[in-house]
Protein backbone atom coordinates (compact mmCIF):
# COMPACT_ATOMS: atom_id res chain seq x y z
CA UNK A 1 0.00 0.00 0.00
CA UNK A 2 3.00 2.27 -0.44
CA UNK A 3 1.77 4.70 -3.02
CA UNK A 4 4.13 7.52 -3.92
CA UNK A 5 3.01 11.09 -3.37
CA UNK A 6 2.96 11.74 -7.11
CA UNK A 7 0.76 8.71 -7.72
CA UNK A 8 -1.57 9.76 -5.00
CA UNK A 9 -1.84 13.32 -6.28
CA UNK A 10 -2.53 11.96 -9.73
CA UNK A 11 -5.19 9.64 -8.40
CA UNK A 12 -6.75 12.43 -6.36
CA UNK A 13 -6.82 14.77 -9.30
CA UNK A 14 -8.58 12.43 -11.67
CA UNK A 15 -10.57 10.05 -9.49
CA UNK A 16 -14.14 10.19 -8.32
CA UNK A 17 -14.75 11.12 -4.73
CA UNK A 18 -16.21 7.68 -4.12
CA UNK A 19 -16.38 4.57 -6.22
CA UNK A 20 -18.10 1.40 -5.03
CA UNK A 21 -17.80 -1.76 -7.12
CA UNK A 22 -19.93 -4.76 -6.33
CA UNK A 23 -20.03 -4.04 -2.60
CA UNK A 24 -21.83 -6.76 -0.67
CA UNK A 25 -22.32 -7.09 3.05
CA UNK A 26 -23.70 -10.17 4.73
CA UNK A 27 -24.94 -10.45 8.30
CA UNK A 28 -24.91 -14.20 8.62
CA UNK A 29 -27.37 -15.35 5.99
CA UNK A 30 -28.90 -11.90 5.62
CA UNK A 31 -27.62 -9.86 2.67
CA UNK A 32 -27.90 -6.29 3.92
CA UNK A 33 -26.07 -4.93 0.88
CA UNK A 34 -26.04 -6.72 -2.49
CA UNK A 35 -23.59 -5.92 -5.27
CA UNK A 36 -23.80 -2.16 -4.89
CA UNK A 37 -22.00 -0.13 -7.54
CA UNK A 38 -22.01 3.64 -7.17
CA UNK A 39 -19.92 6.62 -8.18
CA UNK A 40 -19.92 10.01 -6.51
CA UNK A 41 -18.03 12.84 -8.21
CA UNK A 42 -16.07 15.39 -6.15
CA UNK A 43 -18.46 17.99 -4.80
CA UNK A 44 -21.51 15.97 -5.81
CA UNK A 45 -24.57 15.96 -3.56
CA UNK A 46 -26.50 12.75 -3.53
CA UNK A 47 -29.59 11.57 -1.68
CA UNK A 48 -30.17 7.92 -0.85
CA UNK A 49 -33.78 6.96 -0.36
CA UNK A 50 -35.31 3.69 0.67
CA UNK A 51 -37.62 2.14 3.21
CA UNK A 52 -36.49 0.97 6.64
CA UNK A 53 -34.12 -1.96 6.44
CA UNK A 54 -33.22 -1.23 2.82
CA UNK A 55 -29.52 -1.21 3.76
CA UNK A 56 -28.81 2.53 3.68
CA UNK A 57 -26.98 2.69 7.01
CA UNK A 58 -25.08 -0.48 6.13
CA UNK A 59 -23.99 1.23 2.92
CA UNK A 60 -22.55 4.08 4.99
CA UNK A 61 -20.86 1.65 7.39
CA UNK A 62 -19.13 -0.07 4.50
CA UNK A 63 -17.98 3.24 3.01
CA UNK A 64 -16.51 4.51 6.30
CA UNK A 65 -15.08 1.19 7.41
CA UNK A 66 -17.26 0.98 10.54
CA UNK A 67 -17.93 -2.47 9.06
CA UNK A 68 -15.91 -4.08 6.34
CA UNK A 69 -17.75 -5.12 3.22
CA UNK A 70 -17.95 -8.87 2.64
CA UNK A 71 -16.85 -8.43 -0.97
CA UNK A 72 -16.35 -5.66 -3.53
CA UNK A 73 -14.03 -2.66 -3.61
CA UNK A 74 -14.28 0.80 -2.12
CA UNK A 75 -12.22 3.60 -3.66
CA UNK A 76 -11.95 7.02 -2.06
CA UNK A 77 -10.57 9.87 -4.18
CA UNK A 78 -9.04 7.33 -6.52
CA UNK A 79 -7.38 5.28 -3.78
CA UNK A 80 -8.39 1.72 -2.97
CA UNK A 81 -9.38 1.85 0.70
CA UNK A 82 -11.23 -1.46 0.84
CA UNK A 83 -8.93 -2.80 3.52
CA UNK A 84 -8.28 0.48 5.33
CA UNK A 85 -9.59 0.88 8.88
CA UNK A 86 -12.10 3.65 9.56
CA UNK A 87 -9.61 6.20 10.89
CA UNK A 88 -7.46 5.94 7.75
CA UNK A 89 -10.47 6.69 5.56
CA UNK A 90 -11.49 9.61 7.77
CA UNK A 91 -8.00 11.09 7.48
CA UNK A 92 -8.46 11.09 3.69
CA UNK A 93 -11.35 13.55 3.93
CA UNK A 94 -14.32 11.27 4.57
CA UNK A 95 -16.75 12.17 7.37
CA UNK A 96 -20.02 10.85 8.69
CA UNK A 97 -22.87 11.46 11.08
CA UNK A 98 -24.80 8.72 12.83
CA UNK A 99 -28.52 8.03 12.60
CA UNK A 100 -28.58 7.64 16.37
CA UNK A 101 -26.29 10.32 17.77
CA UNK A 102 -22.93 9.00 18.94
CA UNK A 103 -21.69 11.88 21.06
CA UNK A 104 -19.59 12.21 24.20
CA UNK A 105 -22.47 13.03 26.49
CA UNK A 106 -20.31 13.73 29.53
CA UNK A 107 -18.32 16.42 27.72
CA UNK A 108 -19.21 19.95 26.73
CA UNK A 109 -20.07 20.93 23.18
CA UNK A 110 -16.67 22.60 22.80
CA UNK A 111 -14.80 19.49 24.01
CA UNK A 112 -16.73 17.27 21.60
CA UNK A 113 -15.88 19.49 18.67
CA UNK A 114 -12.29 19.87 19.86
CA UNK A 115 -11.92 16.08 19.87
CA UNK A 116 -13.23 15.99 16.30
CA UNK A 117 -10.89 18.73 15.14
CA UNK A 118 -7.96 17.07 16.86
CA UNK A 119 -8.84 13.69 15.36
CA UNK A 120 -8.11 14.84 11.83
CA UNK A 121 -4.99 16.84 12.64
CA UNK A 122 -1.58 16.12 14.06
CA UNK A 123 -0.88 15.76 17.75
CA UNK A 124 -3.53 13.20 18.56
CA UNK A 125 -1.04 11.76 21.05
CA UNK A 126 0.00 15.12 22.46
CA UNK A 127 0.55 15.19 26.20
CA UNK A 128 0.47 19.00 26.32
CA UNK A 129 -2.80 20.55 27.35
CA UNK A 130 -4.32 22.81 24.72
CA UNK A 131 -4.42 26.59 25.04
CA UNK A 132 -7.46 28.72 24.40
CA UNK A 133 -5.55 30.55 21.71
CA UNK A 134 -4.53 27.34 19.93
CA UNK A 135 -5.53 27.23 16.26
CA UNK A 136 -7.46 23.98 16.73
CA UNK A 137 -9.43 25.48 19.60
CA UNK A 138 -10.24 28.43 17.37
CA UNK A 139 -11.52 26.26 14.56
CA UNK A 140 -13.63 24.34 17.06
CA UNK A 141 -15.21 27.62 18.14
CA UNK A 142 -15.88 28.57 14.51
CA UNK A 143 -17.48 25.20 13.76
CA UNK A 144 -19.79 25.61 16.71
CA UNK A 145 -20.83 28.97 15.34
CA UNK A 146 -21.47 27.45 11.91
CA UNK A 147 -24.04 25.04 13.35
CA UNK A 148 -25.64 27.71 15.57
CA UNK A 149 -24.57 26.21 18.90
CA UNK A 150 -22.52 29.12 20.27
CA UNK A 151 -25.01 29.73 23.09
CA UNK A 152 -24.51 26.23 24.46
CA UNK A 153 -20.79 25.98 23.76
CA UNK A 154 -19.86 25.18 27.36
CA UNK A 155 -22.93 23.09 28.12
CA UNK A 156 -22.65 19.36 28.67
CA UNK A 157 -23.99 17.42 25.72
CA UNK A 158 -26.32 15.39 27.94
CA UNK A 159 -28.13 18.64 28.76
CA UNK A 160 -28.71 19.63 25.14
CA UNK A 161 -32.08 19.43 23.41
CA UNK A 162 -32.47 16.66 20.83
CA UNK A 163 -32.25 19.03 17.88
CA UNK A 164 -29.07 20.57 19.26
CA UNK A 165 -27.49 17.13 19.58
CA UNK A 166 -28.28 16.49 15.91
CA UNK A 167 -26.61 19.77 15.03
CA UNK A 168 -23.57 18.80 17.06
CA UNK A 169 -23.42 15.53 15.09
CA UNK A 170 -23.09 17.68 11.97
CA UNK A 171 -20.41 19.88 13.53
CA UNK A 172 -18.30 16.78 14.26
CA UNK A 173 -18.56 15.78 10.61
CA UNK A 174 -17.47 19.22 9.43
CA UNK A 175 -14.21 19.17 11.41
CA UNK A 176 -10.95 19.54 9.55
CA UNK A 177 -11.08 19.58 5.77
CA UNK A 178 -13.91 17.24 4.76
CA UNK A 179 -14.25 16.33 1.09
CA UNK A 180 -17.12 13.87 1.28
CA UNK A 181 -19.63 13.68 4.14
CA UNK A 182 -22.18 10.96 4.79
CA UNK A 183 -25.28 12.25 6.61
CA UNK A 184 -27.44 9.47 8.07
CA UNK A 185 -30.97 10.81 8.47
CA UNK A 186 -29.90 14.17 9.90
CA UNK A 187 -33.44 15.56 9.80
CA UNK A 188 -35.12 12.70 11.66
CA UNK A 189 -36.97 13.98 14.69
CA UNK A 190 -36.33 17.65 13.95
CA UNK A 191 -38.99 20.35 14.12
CA UNK A 192 -39.94 22.22 10.90
CA UNK A 193 -37.81 25.20 11.97
CA UNK A 194 -34.84 22.97 12.72
CA UNK A 195 -35.35 21.27 9.37
CA UNK A 196 -35.05 24.50 7.45
CA UNK A 197 -31.98 25.38 9.51
CA UNK A 198 -30.52 22.04 8.47
CA UNK A 199 -31.31 22.67 4.81
CA UNK A 200 -29.63 26.04 5.14
CA UNK A 201 -26.49 24.50 6.68
CA UNK A 202 -26.34 21.89 3.92
CA UNK A 203 -26.92 24.25 1.01
CA UNK A 204 -24.46 26.80 2.38
CA UNK A 205 -21.61 24.31 2.57
CA UNK A 206 -18.60 25.11 0.34
CA UNK A 207 -19.11 23.74 -3.17
CA UNK A 208 -16.07 21.47 -3.11
CA UNK A 209 -17.54 19.41 -0.28
CA UNK A 210 -19.66 16.59 -1.60
CA UNK A 211 -22.13 14.61 0.49
CA UNK A 212 -24.49 11.67 0.53
CA UNK A 213 -27.60 12.17 2.59
CA UNK A 214 -30.00 9.49 3.75
CA UNK A 215 -33.35 11.16 4.18
CA UNK A 216 -36.93 9.97 4.51
CA UNK A 217 -38.38 13.42 4.04
CA UNK A 218 -38.69 13.87 0.26
CA UNK A 219 -38.97 17.65 0.61
CA UNK A 220 -35.65 17.89 2.42
CA UNK A 221 -33.94 15.31 0.20
CA UNK A 222 -35.00 16.91 -3.06
CA UNK A 223 -33.97 20.39 -1.92
CA UNK A 224 -30.43 19.44 -0.92
CA UNK A 225 -29.51 16.79 -3.51
CA UNK A 226 -28.58 16.92 -7.17
CA UNK A 227 -29.02 13.22 -7.79
CA UNK A 228 -31.00 10.52 -6.04
CA UNK A 229 -30.29 6.80 -5.55
CA UNK A 230 -33.13 4.48 -4.61
CA UNK A 231 -32.43 1.45 -2.42
CA UNK A 232 -34.52 -1.61 -1.76
CA UNK A 233 -33.56 -4.93 -0.18
CA UNK A 234 -29.88 -4.06 -0.18
CA UNK A 235 -29.75 -3.04 -3.84
CA UNK A 236 -29.67 0.28 -5.62
CA UNK A 237 -32.42 -0.15 -8.19
CA UNK A 238 -32.68 3.35 -9.62
CA UNK A 239 -30.55 6.43 -9.93
CA UNK A 240 -31.39 9.78 -11.47
CA UNK A 241 -32.32 13.43 -11.15
CA UNK A 242 -34.83 14.27 -8.43
CA UNK A 243 -37.58 15.00 -11.01
CA UNK A 244 -37.06 11.66 -12.72
CA UNK A 245 -37.16 9.78 -9.44
CA UNK A 246 -40.27 11.56 -8.24
CA UNK A 247 -42.19 10.68 -11.38
CA UNK A 248 -40.87 7.12 -11.75
CA UNK A 249 -43.74 4.63 -11.46
CA UNK A 250 -41.62 1.94 -9.81
CA UNK A 251 -40.48 4.38 -7.18
CA UNK A 252 -44.03 5.64 -6.72
CA UNK A 253 -45.19 2.12 -6.03
CA UNK A 254 -42.33 1.01 -3.79
CA UNK A 255 -41.62 4.06 -1.80
CA UNK A 256 -43.63 7.20 -2.30
CA UNK A 257 -47.04 5.62 -2.62
CA UNK A 258 -47.63 2.91 -0.08
CA UNK A 259 -45.10 1.93 2.55
CA UNK A 260 -43.75 5.32 3.49
CA UNK A 261 -41.54 5.52 6.57
Amino acid sequence: MNVSVAERLHATGTGSALELRGVTRMFGALAALVDVTMTIEPGERRAVLGSNGAGKTTLFNCITGDFFSTSGTVRLFGEDVTHFPAHERIRRGLRRTYQISLLFTGLTVLDNVYLAVRGVSRGRFSLIRPRRSEALMQSAVELIEAVHLTDVRDTKVSELAYGQQRQLEIALALAGAPRLILFDEPAAGLSPTERSELVEILTNMPRHIGYIIIEHDMDVALRVAERVSMMHNGRIFKEGLPEEIESDPEVQELYLGGGHG
Binding site: T64, G65, D66, P85, A86, H87, I90, R91, R95, R96, Y98, L102, L103, F104, T105, G106, L107, T108, L110, D111, Y114, L115, A116, R118, G119, V120, G123, R124, F125, S126, L127, I128, R129, P130, R131, R132, M137, K156, L172, A175, G176
Partner: protein, 362 residues
Protein backbone atom coordinates in the same frame (compact mmCIF):
# COMPACT_ATOMS: atom_id res chain seq x y z
CA UNK B 1 -8.99 18.36 41.66
CA UNK B 2 -12.10 17.70 43.64
CA UNK B 3 -12.52 14.04 44.45
CA UNK B 4 -15.17 12.53 42.24
CA UNK B 5 -16.49 9.08 41.69
CA UNK B 6 -18.29 9.12 38.36
CA UNK B 7 -16.49 7.38 35.58
CA UNK B 8 -17.60 9.35 32.55
CA UNK B 9 -15.27 11.54 30.61
CA UNK B 10 -16.22 14.81 32.20
CA UNK B 11 -15.99 13.63 35.77
CA UNK B 12 -12.69 11.85 35.46
CA UNK B 13 -11.06 14.42 33.25
CA UNK B 14 -12.97 17.64 33.72
CA UNK B 15 -12.76 17.80 29.96
CA UNK B 16 -10.17 19.87 28.17
CA UNK B 17 -8.48 22.17 30.63
CA UNK B 18 -6.80 25.07 29.04
CA UNK B 19 -3.98 26.47 31.10
CA UNK B 20 -4.02 30.20 30.71
CA UNK B 21 -4.05 31.12 34.36
CA UNK B 22 -1.81 29.32 36.82
CA UNK B 23 -3.22 31.14 39.84
CA UNK B 24 -6.65 29.97 38.78
CA UNK B 25 -5.34 26.45 38.67
CA UNK B 26 -3.92 26.78 42.18
CA UNK B 27 -7.25 28.06 43.44
CA UNK B 28 -9.02 25.13 41.90
CA UNK B 29 -7.10 22.64 44.05
CA UNK B 30 -9.38 21.25 46.72
CA UNK B 31 -8.46 22.46 50.26
CA UNK B 32 -8.25 18.84 51.38
CA UNK B 33 -5.24 18.44 49.11
CA UNK B 34 -3.43 21.37 50.73
CA UNK B 35 -4.05 19.86 54.14
CA UNK B 36 -2.84 16.49 52.96
CA UNK B 37 0.26 18.01 51.37
CA UNK B 38 1.25 19.77 54.59
CA UNK B 39 0.58 16.64 56.64
CA UNK B 40 2.69 14.45 54.36
CA UNK B 41 5.48 16.99 54.09
CA UNK B 42 5.95 17.22 57.85
CA UNK B 43 5.19 13.58 58.62
CA UNK B 44 8.79 12.76 59.62
CA UNK B 45 8.53 15.33 62.41
CA UNK B 46 6.11 13.16 64.35
CA UNK B 47 6.15 9.68 62.79
CA UNK B 48 8.67 6.98 63.69
CA UNK B 49 10.78 4.87 61.34
CA UNK B 50 8.26 2.05 61.18
CA UNK B 51 5.48 4.36 60.05
CA UNK B 52 7.68 6.27 57.61
CA UNK B 53 9.32 3.26 56.01
CA UNK B 54 6.89 0.37 56.38
CA UNK B 55 3.52 2.09 56.36
CA UNK B 56 3.82 5.25 54.30
CA UNK B 57 6.69 4.15 52.09
CA UNK B 58 4.91 0.92 51.20
CA UNK B 59 1.58 2.69 50.68
CA UNK B 60 3.17 5.18 48.28
CA UNK B 61 4.80 2.37 46.31
CA UNK B 62 1.74 0.13 46.06
CA UNK B 63 -0.34 3.23 45.34
CA UNK B 64 1.94 4.11 42.44
CA UNK B 65 1.64 0.63 40.95
CA UNK B 66 -2.13 0.66 41.48
CA UNK B 67 -2.21 4.13 39.90
CA UNK B 68 -0.92 2.62 36.67
CA UNK B 69 -3.88 0.24 36.75
CA UNK B 70 -6.24 3.11 37.58
CA UNK B 71 -5.00 4.96 34.50
CA UNK B 72 -5.70 1.98 32.24
CA UNK B 73 -8.98 0.96 33.85
CA UNK B 74 -10.41 4.36 34.79
CA UNK B 75 -9.48 6.31 31.67
CA UNK B 76 -8.99 3.51 29.17
CA UNK B 77 -11.59 0.99 30.33
CA UNK B 78 -8.92 -1.73 30.24
CA UNK B 79 -8.51 -3.85 33.37
CA UNK B 80 -4.92 -5.07 33.23
CA UNK B 81 -3.62 -7.65 35.68
CA UNK B 82 -0.09 -7.28 34.39
CA UNK B 83 0.85 -4.06 36.25
CA UNK B 84 2.55 -5.83 39.16
CA UNK B 85 4.44 -7.97 36.65
CA UNK B 86 5.70 -4.88 34.82
CA UNK B 87 6.73 -3.40 38.16
CA UNK B 88 8.46 -6.65 39.08
CA UNK B 89 10.31 -6.77 35.78
CA UNK B 90 11.66 -3.28 36.42
CA UNK B 91 12.72 -4.42 39.88
CA UNK B 92 14.45 -7.48 38.43
CA UNK B 93 16.23 -5.31 35.87
CA UNK B 94 17.61 -3.08 38.63
CA UNK B 95 18.81 -6.20 40.44
CA UNK B 96 20.34 -7.73 37.32
CA UNK B 97 21.94 -4.60 35.87
CA UNK B 98 22.89 -3.05 39.20
CA UNK B 99 24.55 -4.54 42.25
CA UNK B 100 23.08 -7.29 44.42
CA UNK B 101 24.20 -10.18 46.61
CA UNK B 102 24.12 -12.48 43.57
CA UNK B 103 27.38 -11.34 42.06
CA UNK B 104 27.36 -14.15 39.50
CA UNK B 105 24.44 -12.55 37.65
CA UNK B 106 24.28 -8.90 38.70
CA UNK B 107 26.36 -6.72 36.45
CA UNK B 108 27.06 -4.00 38.98
CA UNK B 109 26.33 -1.08 36.69
CA UNK B 110 25.83 2.30 38.38
CA UNK B 111 22.25 3.11 39.33
CA UNK B 112 21.98 6.07 37.01
CA UNK B 113 22.49 3.61 34.14
CA UNK B 114 20.52 0.66 35.54
CA UNK B 115 17.39 2.59 36.56
CA UNK B 116 16.63 4.26 33.20
CA UNK B 117 17.28 0.99 31.35
CA UNK B 118 15.02 -0.86 33.79
CA UNK B 119 12.22 1.62 33.11
CA UNK B 120 12.68 1.40 29.34
CA UNK B 121 12.71 -2.42 29.39
CA UNK B 122 9.56 -2.48 31.52
CA UNK B 123 7.90 0.04 29.20
CA UNK B 124 8.74 -2.05 26.14
CA UNK B 125 7.45 -5.18 27.85
CA UNK B 126 4.25 -3.39 28.92
CA UNK B 127 3.75 -2.08 25.39
CA UNK B 128 4.05 -5.57 23.93
CA UNK B 129 1.58 -6.97 26.44
CA UNK B 130 -0.68 -4.05 25.62
CA UNK B 131 -0.44 -4.77 21.91
CA UNK B 132 -1.58 -8.30 22.70
CA UNK B 133 -4.32 -7.30 25.13
CA UNK B 134 -5.99 -4.30 23.47
CA UNK B 135 -7.62 -6.42 20.81
CA UNK B 136 -9.69 -8.07 23.52
CA UNK B 137 -12.34 -6.55 25.75
CA UNK B 138 -13.58 -7.00 29.31
CA UNK B 139 -13.07 -10.41 30.83
CA UNK B 140 -10.75 -11.47 28.00
CA UNK B 141 -8.37 -8.60 28.73
CA UNK B 142 -8.27 -9.74 32.34
CA UNK B 143 -7.57 -13.32 31.28
CA UNK B 144 -4.81 -12.48 28.80
CA UNK B 145 -2.99 -10.17 31.20
CA UNK B 146 -3.38 -12.70 34.01
CA UNK B 147 -1.89 -15.37 31.75
CA UNK B 148 1.11 -13.14 31.04
CA UNK B 149 1.50 -12.43 34.76
CA UNK B 150 1.39 -16.15 35.59
CA UNK B 151 3.83 -16.91 32.79
CA UNK B 152 6.31 -14.34 34.08
CA UNK B 153 6.01 -15.70 37.62
CA UNK B 154 6.88 -19.23 36.52
CA UNK B 155 9.65 -17.95 34.27
CA UNK B 156 11.34 -16.17 37.17
CA UNK B 157 10.96 -19.25 39.36
CA UNK B 158 12.38 -21.68 36.85
CA UNK B 159 15.03 -19.61 35.14
CA UNK B 160 18.34 -19.53 37.01
CA UNK B 161 20.61 -17.92 34.43
CA UNK B 162 18.88 -14.54 34.41
CA UNK B 163 16.31 -14.46 37.21
CA UNK B 164 18.18 -16.68 39.69
CA UNK B 165 15.15 -18.92 40.10
CA UNK B 166 13.37 -19.50 43.38
CA UNK B 167 15.68 -17.39 45.54
CA UNK B 168 15.72 -14.33 43.31
CA UNK B 169 18.02 -11.47 44.26
CA UNK B 170 18.89 -10.36 47.77
CA UNK B 171 21.26 -7.74 49.06
CA UNK B 172 20.28 -5.25 46.41
CA UNK B 173 22.24 -2.06 46.71
CA UNK B 174 20.12 0.71 48.27
CA UNK B 175 19.43 3.77 46.14
CA UNK B 176 21.96 6.54 46.34
CA UNK B 177 21.27 10.15 45.52
CA UNK B 178 24.15 12.62 45.77
CA UNK B 179 26.04 10.05 47.83
CA UNK B 180 23.25 9.76 50.41
CA UNK B 181 21.77 6.35 51.22
CA UNK B 182 18.13 6.82 50.34
CA UNK B 183 17.05 3.68 52.16
CA UNK B 184 17.21 5.39 55.54
CA UNK B 185 13.60 5.73 56.70
CA UNK B 186 13.27 9.52 56.45
CA UNK B 187 15.05 9.64 53.09
CA UNK B 188 13.11 6.72 51.71
CA UNK B 189 9.87 8.30 52.90
CA UNK B 190 10.60 11.43 50.89
CA UNK B 191 11.86 9.48 47.89
CA UNK B 192 8.71 7.36 47.65
CA UNK B 193 6.51 10.36 48.42
CA UNK B 194 8.14 12.33 45.62
CA UNK B 195 7.71 9.47 43.13
CA UNK B 196 4.08 8.98 44.16
CA UNK B 197 3.26 12.68 43.88
CA UNK B 198 5.00 13.03 40.52
CA UNK B 199 3.19 9.98 39.16
CA UNK B 200 -0.10 11.29 40.49
CA UNK B 201 0.42 14.73 38.93
CA UNK B 202 1.51 13.16 35.64
CA UNK B 203 -1.67 11.10 35.48
CA UNK B 204 -3.88 14.08 36.37
CA UNK B 205 -2.14 16.25 33.79
CA UNK B 206 -2.18 13.66 31.02
CA UNK B 207 -5.84 12.85 31.66
CA UNK B 208 -6.72 16.32 30.42
CA UNK B 209 -4.29 16.41 27.53
CA UNK B 210 -5.43 15.57 23.99
CA UNK B 211 -4.02 12.05 24.46
CA UNK B 212 -5.82 11.51 27.76
CA UNK B 213 -9.07 12.92 26.48
CA UNK B 214 -8.89 10.77 23.36
CA UNK B 215 -8.28 7.73 25.56
CA UNK B 216 -11.43 8.48 27.54
CA UNK B 217 -13.34 9.09 24.33
CA UNK B 218 -12.21 5.68 23.15
CA UNK B 219 -13.30 4.12 26.45
CA UNK B 220 -16.79 5.60 26.06
CA UNK B 221 -17.24 5.30 22.34
CA UNK B 222 -14.50 3.61 20.32
CA UNK B 223 -16.54 3.52 17.13
CA UNK B 224 -17.16 7.26 17.12
CA UNK B 225 -13.51 7.95 17.87
CA UNK B 226 -12.45 5.90 14.85
CA UNK B 227 -14.96 7.88 12.78
CA UNK B 228 -13.24 11.05 14.00
CA UNK B 229 -9.87 9.87 12.72
CA UNK B 230 -8.40 8.30 15.87
CA UNK B 231 -6.46 5.06 15.70
CA UNK B 232 -8.19 3.32 18.57
CA UNK B 233 -5.71 0.45 18.85
CA UNK B 234 -2.65 2.70 18.84
CA UNK B 235 -4.12 4.89 21.57
CA UNK B 236 -4.85 1.91 23.75
CA UNK B 237 -1.34 0.54 23.29
CA UNK B 238 0.18 3.94 24.08
CA UNK B 239 -1.84 3.96 27.28
CA UNK B 240 -0.12 0.72 28.27
CA UNK B 241 3.26 2.30 27.58
CA UNK B 242 2.48 5.29 29.78
CA UNK B 243 1.08 3.08 32.55
CA UNK B 244 4.14 0.81 32.34
CA UNK B 245 6.51 3.68 33.11
CA UNK B 246 4.54 4.46 36.27
CA UNK B 247 4.38 0.80 37.27
CA UNK B 248 8.13 0.50 36.68
CA UNK B 249 8.86 3.40 39.04
CA UNK B 250 6.79 1.66 41.70
CA UNK B 251 8.52 -1.66 41.06
CA UNK B 252 12.01 -0.21 41.42
CA UNK B 253 11.08 1.49 44.68
CA UNK B 254 9.59 -1.76 45.96
CA UNK B 255 12.80 -3.63 45.16
CA UNK B 256 14.85 -1.00 46.95
CA UNK B 257 12.56 -1.03 49.95
CA UNK B 258 12.84 -4.80 50.37
CA UNK B 259 16.49 -4.84 49.22
CA UNK B 260 15.40 -7.97 47.34
CA UNK B 261 13.23 -9.24 44.55
CA UNK B 262 12.05 -12.83 44.12
CA UNK B 263 9.33 -14.74 42.29
CA UNK B 264 7.05 -14.29 45.31
CA UNK B 265 7.04 -10.54 44.59
CA UNK B 266 5.40 -11.14 41.21
CA UNK B 267 3.20 -14.12 42.12
CA UNK B 268 -0.54 -14.24 41.54
CA UNK B 269 -1.15 -12.96 45.10
CA UNK B 270 0.58 -9.59 44.60
CA UNK B 271 -0.89 -9.33 41.09
CA UNK B 272 -4.43 -9.62 42.47
CA UNK B 273 -3.58 -7.35 45.40
CA UNK B 274 -2.95 -4.48 42.98
CA UNK B 275 -6.40 -4.98 41.45
CA UNK B 276 -7.95 -5.05 44.92
CA UNK B 277 -6.12 -1.87 45.93
CA UNK B 278 -7.27 0.00 42.85
CA UNK B 279 -10.87 -1.12 43.16
CA UNK B 280 -11.15 -0.63 46.91
CA UNK B 281 -9.78 2.90 46.56
CA UNK B 282 -11.95 3.65 43.53
CA UNK B 283 -10.85 3.80 39.92
CA UNK B 284 -12.80 6.99 39.19
CA UNK B 285 -9.94 9.22 40.30
CA UNK B 286 -6.15 8.82 40.63
CA UNK B 287 -6.22 9.49 44.38
CA UNK B 288 -8.24 6.28 44.82
CA UNK B 289 -5.15 4.16 44.13
CA UNK B 290 -3.36 5.69 47.13
CA UNK B 291 -6.38 5.46 49.41
CA UNK B 292 -6.68 1.79 48.52
CA UNK B 293 -2.97 1.23 49.05
CA UNK B 294 -3.03 2.86 52.48
CA UNK B 295 -5.98 0.72 53.59
CA UNK B 296 -4.26 -2.40 52.25
CA UNK B 297 -0.97 -1.65 54.02
CA UNK B 298 -2.72 -0.97 57.32
CA UNK B 299 -4.63 -4.24 57.05
CA UNK B 300 -1.52 -6.16 56.01
CA UNK B 301 0.62 -4.83 58.82
CA UNK B 302 -1.87 -4.78 61.66
CA UNK B 303 -4.39 -7.51 60.95
CA UNK B 304 -2.16 -10.35 62.27
CA UNK B 305 -2.15 -8.71 65.71
CA UNK B 306 -5.85 -8.00 65.53
CA UNK B 307 -6.63 -11.55 64.45
CA UNK B 308 -4.49 -13.04 67.18
CA UNK B 309 -6.13 -10.85 69.76
CA UNK B 310 -9.38 -12.46 68.66
CA UNK B 311 -7.83 -15.89 69.05
CA UNK B 312 -7.59 -16.51 65.28
CA UNK B 313 -4.45 -17.49 63.34
CA UNK B 314 -2.48 -14.37 62.43
CA UNK B 315 -1.70 -15.47 58.92
CA UNK B 316 -5.33 -15.14 57.89
CA UNK B 317 -4.86 -11.52 56.86
CA UNK B 318 -5.86 -12.37 53.31
CA UNK B 319 -9.25 -13.50 54.53
CA UNK B 320 -9.65 -10.16 56.23
CA UNK B 321 -8.55 -8.25 53.14
CA UNK B 322 -10.89 -10.32 51.01
CA UNK B 323 -13.78 -9.63 53.36
CA UNK B 324 -13.01 -5.92 53.39
CA UNK B 325 -12.89 -6.00 49.59
CA UNK B 326 -16.28 -7.70 49.40
CA UNK B 327 -17.86 -5.28 51.84
CA UNK B 328 -16.59 -2.18 50.07
CA UNK B 329 -17.46 -3.38 46.60
CA UNK B 330 -20.86 -4.49 47.84
CA UNK B 331 -21.67 -1.10 49.29
CA UNK B 332 -19.93 1.02 46.70
CA UNK B 333 -18.83 -0.15 43.26
CA UNK B 334 -16.76 3.03 43.12
CA UNK B 335 -14.69 2.06 46.14
CA UNK B 336 -13.93 4.27 49.10
CA UNK B 337 -14.14 7.34 46.86
CA UNK B 338 -17.70 6.34 46.01
CA UNK B 339 -18.57 5.92 49.69
CA UNK B 340 -17.20 9.37 50.36
CA UNK B 341 -19.25 10.81 47.52
CA UNK B 342 -22.42 9.13 48.81
CA UNK B 343 -21.75 10.51 52.27
CA UNK B 344 -21.22 14.01 50.89
CA UNK B 345 -24.43 13.88 48.91
CA UNK B 346 -26.37 12.71 51.94
CA UNK B 347 -24.92 15.54 54.01
CA UNK B 348 -25.77 18.03 51.29
CA UNK B 349 -29.33 16.73 51.11
CA UNK B 350 -29.69 17.05 54.86
CA UNK B 351 -28.28 20.56 54.81
CA UNK B 352 -30.78 21.52 52.16
CA UNK B 353 -28.28 22.56 49.51
CA UNK B 354 -26.60 25.20 51.62
CA UNK B 355 -23.35 24.76 49.79
CA UNK B 356 -21.43 22.32 51.94
CA UNK B 357 -19.52 21.35 48.83
CA UNK B 358 -16.49 23.45 49.70
CA UNK B 359 -14.63 26.19 47.92
CA UNK B 360 -12.69 23.85 45.69
CA UNK B 361 -15.80 22.42 44.13
CA UNK B 362 -16.17 23.22 40.47
Amino acid sequence: MAVRDHADVSATSGGIRTHTNYLGWLESVHPAYWLLAILLLFMPAFAGSFWLFQVWGWAFILGTIALSLMFLAGYGGMVSLVQMTIAGLAGYMVAILGASGVSGISMGWPQWVAVPIAIVVAAIFGTLVGALAVRTRGIYTIMITLAVAAGFFYLTRQNYTIFNGYTGFGGIQPPHLFGVNMRQPVHFYYLSLACAVLSFLAVVYVSRSPFGLALQGIRDNPRRMAALGYNVTAHRIAAYTFASVIAAVGGILLTWQNAQIAPASVGIGPVIDILIIAIVGGIGHPIGAFIGAFIYVILRLFSPDMLMALGLPGDRFRTLIGLGFLLIVFWSPDGVLGLWQQLKERMRDNAGFTGLGGAGER
